[in-house]
Symmetry: C2
Subunit: 699 residues, 2 copies
Amino acid sequence: MTSRAELSRLFHPRSIAVVGASAAPNKIGAMPLTLLRRHGYAGRIVPVNPRGGTILDLPACPDLAALAEPVDLAILAVPAEHAADALARARPGQVAGAVVFTSGYAETGEAGRARQARLEAVARERGIRLLGPNCLGFMNVREQVYATFSPAPMNGTVAAGDIGMVSQSGAFGAYAYSMARERGLGLSYWISTGNEADLDVSDCITWLVDDPHTRVIMVYMEGCRDGAKLRHALAAARQAGKAVVVAKIGRTAAGAQAAASHTAALAGDDAVYDALFRQYGVARAHTIDEFFNLGYALSAWPQRPAGRRLGIITISGGVGALMADDAQDAGLMLPEPAQSVRDRLLARVPFASARNPVDVTGQAVAEPGLLLDTADGMLAGGTYDALAVFLAAAGSLDSLWPTFESFARELRERHPAVPLSLCAIFPQARRQALEALGCPVFTDPSAAIRTLGAVAVMEDAAEPVVMPERQAAAAELPAGSGPLNEIEALALVRQAGIPTVDARLVASADEAVAQADAVGGPVALKIVSRDILHKSDVGGVRLALQGAGQVRGAHAGIMAAVGQQAPQARIDGVLVAPMAPAGVECILGMHRDPVFGPVIMFGLGGVYVEILRDVSFRLAPFGHAQARAMIAGLRTYPLLCGARGAPPCDVEALAAALVALAALAHAAPDRIESIEINPLLALPRGQGVLALDAVAVAR
Amino acid sequence: MTSRAELSRLFHPRSIAVVGASAAPNKIGAMPLTLLRRHGYAGRIVPVNPRGGTILDLPACPDLAALAEPVDLAILAVPAEHAADALARARPGQVAGAVVFTSGYAETGEAGRARQARLEAVARERGIRLLGPNCLGFMNVREQVYATFSPAPMNGTVAAGDIGMVSQSGAFGAYAYSMARERGLGLSYWISTGNEADLDVSDCITWLVDDPHTRVIMVYMEGCRDGAKLRHALAAARQAGKAVVVAKIGRTAAGAQAAASHTAALAGDDAVYDALFRQYGVARAHTIDEFFNLGYALSAWPQRPAGRRLGIITISGGVGALMADDAQDAGLMLPEPAQSVRDRLLARVPFASARNPVDVTGQAVAEPGLLLDTADGMLAGGTYDALAVFLAAAGSLDSLWPTFESFARELRERHPAVPLSLCAIFPQARRQALEALGCPVFTDPSAAIRTLGAVAVMEDAAEPVVMPERQAAAAELPAGSGPLNEIEALALVRQAGIPTVDARLVASADEAVAQADAVGGPVALKIVSRDILHKSDVGGVRLALQGAGQVRGAHAGIMAAVGQQAPQARIDGVLVAPMAPAGVECILGMHRDPVFGPVIMFGLGGVYVEILRDVSFRLAPFGHAQARAMIAGLRTYPLLCGARGAPPCDVEALAAALVALAALAHAAPDRIESIEINPLLALPRGQGVLALDAVAVAR
């Protein structure tokens, strides 16, 4: 059976056994039974309890072995020490999927890990897919499947809708369920994954990608153990055009520490997750409000904005300016309306402001057609990818409701491709009517603009996602593992296709003089040893040497200094290289993330990387557009564009170098531990790049 | 009569005349009358209408001259072209204050400006204080004074409370009123200032500072024309211990452009406003939500947190980590609880996390005392300035309400000095009960943390505010205005008390040689001319000269190059100075802001200021603590602390230089247009600073 068919039985069950079923309201075995009955689950429900009898009017079965027919789903609401035994009673074929609620597994230490391993083994032997343990279970909202013991649905259920929600944390998940209900979001599925003994967040994303009722996937995560699987899931979501919104904890050192002390999952480097999200067009929310604003808008809009060009219409110039502030912060553009649109507005309302943000003034209240005509004119030109309209408190006025309703309806009909967000206070019923038209409503205009900005970031990952499949080619490296010497490291960089300085290894002062002569012009001499990381610190570097005398002297000086300061180092010789031309010093690096494999790092050299931490990351491999985005995303990017009278650098060649290193790292993931090209010189436009020094470690 | 007594009659009127009163519901003259009657204003109301008769059962008076008794307040709800005439009918003493609603004044151009000038003159002649024109008026919530034509109070009024709200924009004000009602905030006053012909935002802040019913002042502003008045108002608020929260538009270029096209007020440089807010401990909100979160928390807490040490308690480890992320972003500290507190928690709940954020786990639901004991233990040690507690959706559960209510009550009683914020979903009545105990409730935990962070920023302005009174001393400057030459500019810097390089002006090559000899060691030669700003560009600088021959040659070379490349420049001579020691190059500048006067700027030299725009500003004068905060607030601050093996710089001396330049600028505000010390060399700790070059412009 395919994984999809297995998951379909689990998440879409026609029959459910509740092991540990109880009628006592304070038992966790009572909750799913109560919820399933109360909300009218249409499938077969079998309480399982060794005492038999009937529970909530349903005849109970003593154990899984005694089931008259197989069930799609078994909910295990029994103590941790009994769950594996209870599941072990099932014969292969009797149970397709199981949800295990209880804690006391891998999250608690050694004994718990052993208990979890046994549970996994039991499930695997019987072909049972497992959600949990230590999870709140799941809900299939449309079909009233309440495989959960969360009391959240007791206070009212969420509407069925197109948002699939996955949470590694049960507590967060329960809170998010309540928030979704408060904010009127409609859910398809709500899934908590807990310890992820079998099914993890990636499996659930993949399931939701394939689910025809889900359009938006909201994920809360703390970490992931299988990077490739998550990448596949996100790539599939992207391919299917389904938006993914993620709240991931551990952005900061304090958060990461708290996350690590909380979760058994390997947290991993947050910067790498951030790179992953950018690369796969995932919107990352930094707060719970952002998380819900994104889910809300993406679910309400019939389609996402195609770009960053935002039109703003307001009935208050001041709030318009505030929204313009937000738009600039969010990286959105505010192109002007066409002259004809501006003229028409100013002819009707001379004291209006016809630039973007367009302030139609309070006159919108007196003249019902003003708002629609202005918006229609603005959108007719194809100038805008999205429109945000601030209506202040006017949404509460009964007299104006027909104006606003027809405004939203007409605009959606005439310009279906342009998402519309309204900013106003509306009574709940009117808000819902607008949402049904495809217009999300925000009380805080800043929230509307920031949401648009976060969605625009999703579209930046516009180039097709490169799937992390291995290529055949592999890097040629010296035998063995550990650090390479500089000559070998530069050779590896050259293999990637990145130009390097013409460095020649010499074994004696005579050879150094000869090679310096061959190079011509002033040269640099450097000690070559895999044991010496900081060559200057041990007197191993001499620069700008001219003529045989200087070269010979420098060679002798280097050998003497190194012999004294690093007597244990294995010396491979000395390299002779021409002095570097003028350029901007960059750092290009690659390291292996334990979860996601090769990660590429780029930044400007020295202070900029070390002190200002102005670096960007992407997972290998990637294409030219991602590489450009990595470079342009730096705060120091203007320094590559010809700041302070310097010539602009060859950014295209830089991007090509990033792509090349990523391809090499991807092609030979098992052989290279890390590479750092420092400096990688960015030369003036048209002149390419030049790697001057490199450190590499083989695996 | 004092201004305070005048404003008291206006904002606190015992009698109100409504000029242009009407019973027709679509007239702006109908709204105040309707609201005053409906909400039970206790004072005397006199409708004024030339047609006389009765309006809403009140006998109308034909004009202000016909008033039987003086009134405290006249509301002018008549067209712009008639307002001055209507007011002119009042005899001196008949009307204390007036509110003018209508637009068509300075905001509309030349004719409107003339109309406004006439209105101002009429009011001044009669001793009438004026709010508006082009404003929505004001409300005194406690006394049901509805001097407004905003329909917002028709949909329900806000509760009386301790927040005074002032808005330059009527539309924003009306929206904010509705938001305050939706969010359950209590207001003392709501004031919209419009064109500010007489009363401006600063007057209103001062009024609210003196109002015993107001504790928190929320201000929306677009700009201000009288910087000194605003500074006095903010200083008074600070002195009175009243919190000021500001939303000011125009943070970004796009926002500033939109603001400028919207408002007649001089927008001014936003960076200067930002400096002002920091300096006077004003919390700046960047979104409407932030604005209300701040007002809400500051009003709910009995007192503000004394520092940045935050304790977090959560029943979900994941959300705890998310809150830790927010806390770090917000610059808050998360100290660990005492070992005894940790031990006690872990003894009760072995799978809890006892570090900060403290995760008491879902066990808080099963064990009622757990939450209170843990929080009490944490706060008993005096380790925390504030406490934030995440209770997830548990607030909705009836069974848990007594636990949470007594938790909040007990904690407030035992630790009244530590503000408490709860993060949870509570039904409205319970939320209000908690607020009444002094605990604000946030549904988004991030909003709770960010609010705490923004409040902590207010406390950074801990040093007493230096009031902008002039001092006697004045800078000695060459006669006349315009640029100074470098020798004169350095002399001015020395007058401020900032050490400068020992630069000597010479008139000939012989003098240059003699002075170079006197200086000793290698010297620099530079052309001295007030007409040459970029000395290097015209060959006017030679460095590291040693011996008479080099000095003589350099002098000749400079004179020749400058003669050729800047033949028109007036040459004052050449300066001879010792070569500079090693240090970090900074820029220290002063410019005159048209609204706020002298502003001090500080940043690290070159790329950091020019490309990364990493600069900080403060208004002159200020003390050492503000100067330290200016320096430490830079992203590049680590470069002054001994980055990459360099010795740490003399930051105290840098701070002293900032204070000194601010004092000079403040002492001689009419004589100095601008100064830029570039570079100001920050020497290693204990060695001070050294100004190497300066540009100054006299007024």
